[in-house]
Amino acid sequence: MVRALDGVNLTVETGEFVAVVGQSGSGKSTLLHMLGGLDQPTSGYVVVEGHELNGMSDEQLTIFRRRNIGFVFQNYNLVPILNVYENIVLPIELDGNTIDTDFVSEIVNTLGLDGKRGNFPNELSGGQQQRVAIARALATKPSILLADEPTGNLDSKTSQDVLGVLKLTSTQFHQTIIMITHNEQIAQLADRIIHIEDGKMIREGCGRR
């Protein structure tokens, strides 16, 4: 059996922007999946805002995710059959809640997507798609925003742009963010940097605030 994560002990405070850095195969994605309730640890526990994730059923985990976690993926993962606005409000609608239109509009404006509400994902550039993904992640006012290599598919200029948006989110919406990256430079943007190797946390430091 491979131990993807071993003896990781991590606490993240509300409003913190944490970067997890490591080479590919170091276990950083597994950490993110566990934090987001996509995967369960074989031993140990994950607690988010007082909810212990261990032992939740598939259904309970799913509902937990849509209420507490916002995801941003390397490959954007927008629903191709829904337009920008529909993609953003999808998690809210899945929960059967009424949409806080003022808040969503604020996000859309902040992320510069105002003119693209009716467009479909395949009509957008990579950077625009990633902004939509971030907007979608923020729309439910999640406890944690998990970003898995958010700039992995983007050129350096667009990457800077997207990272700026993330940073803005962190300050403007006081959003807890955990970002995974293999790029030290990108990690420097975070409040706190955690280095991970072979499934173990080896170092912790501060970013350039």
Partner: protein, 830 residues
């Protein structure tokens, strides 16, 4: 946790449907096909049941549930008050119409029905009613059959019909009157050799004696299903004595049990259709969900619960059902209107015309079953969508790894084989549905081919033509086969042989030891044991028929299994035989005492000849038996019979003509017999044309259904192939980029298609043909004249079709994806 998230799920369903038009087409086609096949099967079943029910009504001539003979005035009054009696009609036989030779063995009566009886009970059991029920005293209404017997083939309202009749059946009171025809209809009761001409109340009133003798009350109960219980109550309530006739109508005595095997067979076919429909729907949806694993995984990551994902898949199939089911149901309706009457007619399920059932149950049932099939087909794919793991979905490429481990060395056919079995389940479903379709088709065509018309006809008819004297059993035999008639037969074109069968009345010597058991069984059959007979009564009434036949012909009629009979002794008139299929009745017979009887011209006072004694020599086939007498039919040689009677009557003439002369001989026979209704003709050549029609219908309907099944298999193949190649677009581009020529890629895909076709062929040739032979063996138990005939041509054509489709489809799909340049395809994502 109850959430109001219907709107977003519906939006996802709508958008997902829009994004998968090709898949939708397959699903709608599958749903529509399933509905069509089920609807057609249900429609056939219901129509046969309705047709059989209608046939029973038409043959019994009334829709009434029961009848009471000679009801008293108080009984009639009481009947109308009973809560479980819906309506009561009355009628009576007014007079017998004098039998003429032209009428053959049929009997005609003048009959009166009151308004209720005619309108509610009699009219619905007849068809093509023209004109009105007689009102005026001289008006008369008749069935077409009765009119034909009277020599009227083109009736006109108001035409005059002179009739001789005996009121109340009193033969010495013969009356004549000219009636005017007020209407006519097609009746089916002539099949039982009796028919009535209907007269008005004004006419019937004048025959009080007939009314007293024959009045009957026809009764319709409130509930059809409880006829026998109501009838028992009725007998108690009316206090019907044992000697008063009361009976339940024939059509209510026979249940629908006779149709059970046929309905079971149809049920099995329906299950088969459901299975194929299920396979197709399941396969299309499963492939679609597999391809969209990333999509479902993403939705799950974003918080779509497993339940919501199931709703997403099931919701799509439900919407497609809303399109597919109405299409299939309409097609089934059209099919019913066009094909079913022909099928029921040609298969001879009923003799009185097919009734097309439009029961809403057919279409609701088909729709409900098709819906269930669709939901069942969607169940596993929906489960798969719900169980998608978000983490794995992210890594999903839609391409499964091959299971084979031997190197392919870039050989297209090896790579093709590997590709086919990349997803074993999918390959199995495609092969199974192709295999089922082909096997069903082969089975149906094999049965139709094996049921060769010639074999069937040969098994039924020993001779090209047989003419029967129908009047032989009436009081006044017409003796249509006289010398001049026989001379004309001898001059028939191409005549090879002509044998006659003689038949006359005789009295048989009775002893309880020899014939007691047989006589008892006959009395039971003829009188239902209602009348008591003393031994002396039986001795006096032990009358039957003496049949004369040539020894050589007798040998032909006997099957090899029959006991050996000394034919030369038979021809010399030294032995006589008993015609029966139940020799157990006659264990102690040794000598037969036969007294010839000849009827006088008026049918009364038969004269008895001298008794002869002849040794009993064994049993003759039942086909020589003449039914309806108390004594068994005795078979002797023709010369022996001729020595006993002055001019023995000819019962039937068996004629064989040389090959190729059948049509000419038929025409000649039609001319010779003319319109003489005493002569009944049975001919091979006419039977062949009727049977060919039935076989064609079986081929068209059965073969059509089986072709549809094969079509389902092909749809499945096309679906799998197109999804597979589309998913592997990138992989194919990569193969090209590393140096596999387009030609080779295409050849590899061609081999994949070929692989499916060859494997289907192998499966059908081995397992499939084994199953077909098994089915044939079962079939032969029912239809013993069938000889196994493999339908090489149709099966070959279907295989040609499957090979063509399997070879062409991959090429067409590849062309559609290869339009883009290699660079574009390599860069393309998803």
């Amino acid at each position: 946790m109850k959430n109001n998230n219907t709107a977003v799920i519906h939006r996802l369903i709508r958008r997902n449907l829009k994004a998968n038009r090709k898949r939708n087409f397959f699903l709608v086609a599958a749903i529509a096909l399933t509905t069509l096949l089920l609807g057609s099967i249900f429609s056939i079943g219901f129509s046969i049941l309705d047709s059989v029910k209608m046939e029973q009504l038409r043959l019994s001539g009334t829709t009434a549930h029961a009848a009471v003979g000679r009801p008293t005035a108080s009984q009639l009054e009481q009947l109308k008050q009973l809560p479980y009696v819906k309506s009561v009609g009355t009628g009576y036989q007014v007079a017998d119409i004098r039998n003429t030779p032209e009428m053959g063995g049929a009997y005609l009566f003048l009959h009166f029905f009151d308004k209720t009886d005619w309108e509610q009970f009699r009219a619905p059991a007849n068809t093509d009613i023209m004109g009105d029920y007689p009102q005026a005293e001289d008006e008369i209404m008749a069935s077409r059959g009765a009119l034909d017997l009277l020599g009227i083939h083109e009736p006109v309202v108001g035409m005059e019909i002179p009739l001789s009749y005996c009121p109340g059946g009193e033969e010495n009171d013969l009356q004549n009157k000219t009636f005017r025809l007020s209407g006519w209809f097609t009746s089916y009761s002539l099949m039982t050799q009796t028919d009535s001409l209907l007269v008005s109340e004004a006419f019937a009133e004048k025959f009080e004696a007939s009314r007293e003798k024959y009045l009957a009350a026809d009764i319709l109960f409130v509930e059809e299903k409880q006829v026998s219980e109501y009838f028992e109550r009725l007998k108690l309530d009316l206090d019907i004595p044992a000697d008063q006739a009361a009976a339940v109508s024939q059509s209510n005595e026979r249940g629908e049990e006779a149709q059970v095997p046929m309905l079971l067979a149809l049920g099995a076919v329906a299950v088969f259709f459901i299975l194929t429909g299920y396979l197709l729907i399941y396969n299309v949806l499963y492939i679609s969900v597999s391809r969209d694993v990333r999509f479902y995984g993403l939705l799950k990551t974003l918080g779509t619960t497993p339940k919501q994902l199931k709703r997403l898949v099931v919701g799509q199939i439900l919407r497609l059902c809303m399109i597919g089911i109405p299409i299939g149901a309409s097609a089934a309706f059209l099919f019913s209107v066009i094909a079913i009457p022909a099928a029921i007619g040609a298969w001879k399920f009923v003799s009185t015309g097919a009734v097309l059932s439009f029961s809403p149950i057919i279409y609701f049932g088909a729709a409900a079953f098709a819906l269930c099939t669709s939901l069942l087909g969607a169940f596993l794919p929906a489960k798969k969508a719900a169980e998608v793991s978000p983490v794995e979905a992210q890594k999903f490429t839609g391409i499964s790894r091959p299971h084979l481990h031997r190197p392919a060395h870039g050989k297209p056919y090896k790579m093709a084989l590997r590709n086919i079995f990349r997803n074993r389940k999918r390959a199995a479903v495609v092969l199974l549905s192709l295999f089922l379709g082909i096997t069903a088709f082969t089975a149906v065509t094999t049965l139709a081919y094996s049921m060769g018309v010639d074999q069937y006809i040969d098994s039924l008819y020993q001779n090209d033509f047989v003419l029967y004297d129908q009047s032989l059993f009436s009081d006044q035999p017409a003796q249509p086969f006289d010398d001049s008639f026989m001379e004309q037969i001898a001059a028939l074109p191409g005549l090879e042989s002509c044998h006659t069968l003689l038949q006359e009345y005789m009295q048989l010597g009775y002893s309880p030891e020899e014939f007691g058991e047989y006589a008892e069984s006959r009395l039971e059959k003829l009188y239902e044991g209602k009348e008591a007979f003393t031994e002396e009564d039986i001795r006096k009434s032990f009358i039957g028929f003496l049949v004369g036949i040539d020894g050589m012909e007798l040998t032909e009629l006997q099957s090899a299994a029959d006991q050996k009979i000394d034919i030369s002794a038979f021809d010399r008139g030294e032995i006589a035989l008993i015609a029966t299929d139940n020799p157990a009745y006659f264990p102690r017979v040794s000598q037969l005492h036969v007294t010839p009887m000849e009827l006088s011209t008026d049918g009364e006072n038969p004269s008895h000849g001298t008794e002869v004694q002849i040794p009993f020599g064994g049993f003759a086939p039942q086909s020589l038996e003449s039914d309806g007498s108390l004594a068994p039919t005795i078979v002797v040689s023709k010369s022996f019979l001729s020595s006993l009677y002055h001019s023995p009557a000819i019962r039937e003439i068996r004629i064989d003509v040389a090959d190729g002369y059948e049509k000419q001989a038929l025409e000649a026979l039609k001319q010779i017999s003319g319109n003489n209704s005493a002569i009944r003709r049975v001919s091979k050549i006419e039977a062949v044309s009727v049977m060919s029609g039935a076989r064609t219908v079986m081929l068209v309907l059965g073969g059509g259904a089986a072709l549809l099944l094969a079509f389902v298999g092909i749809l499945n193949f096309i679906n799998v192939m197109s999804m597979d190649i589309t998913v592997r677009k990138m992989e194919l581009a990569i193969l090209e980029s590393i140096g596999m020529e387009k030609r080779k890629v295409r050849r590899m895909l061609l081999f994949e298609g070929l692989g499916y076709a060859v494997m289907t062929l192998l499966l059908s040739a081995t397992l499939g043909n084994g199953a077909v032979y098994g089915i044939f063996t079962l079939f032969k138990l029912q239809v013993d004249y069938a000889t196994f005939t493999y339908p090489i041509l149709p099966v070959g054509l279907v295989f040609l079709m499957i090979f063509t489709v399997c070879l062409i489809v991959p090429e067409i799909i590849y062309r559609s994806i290869a339009k883009a340049t290699l660079i574009e395809r390599l860069r393309e994502k998803e």
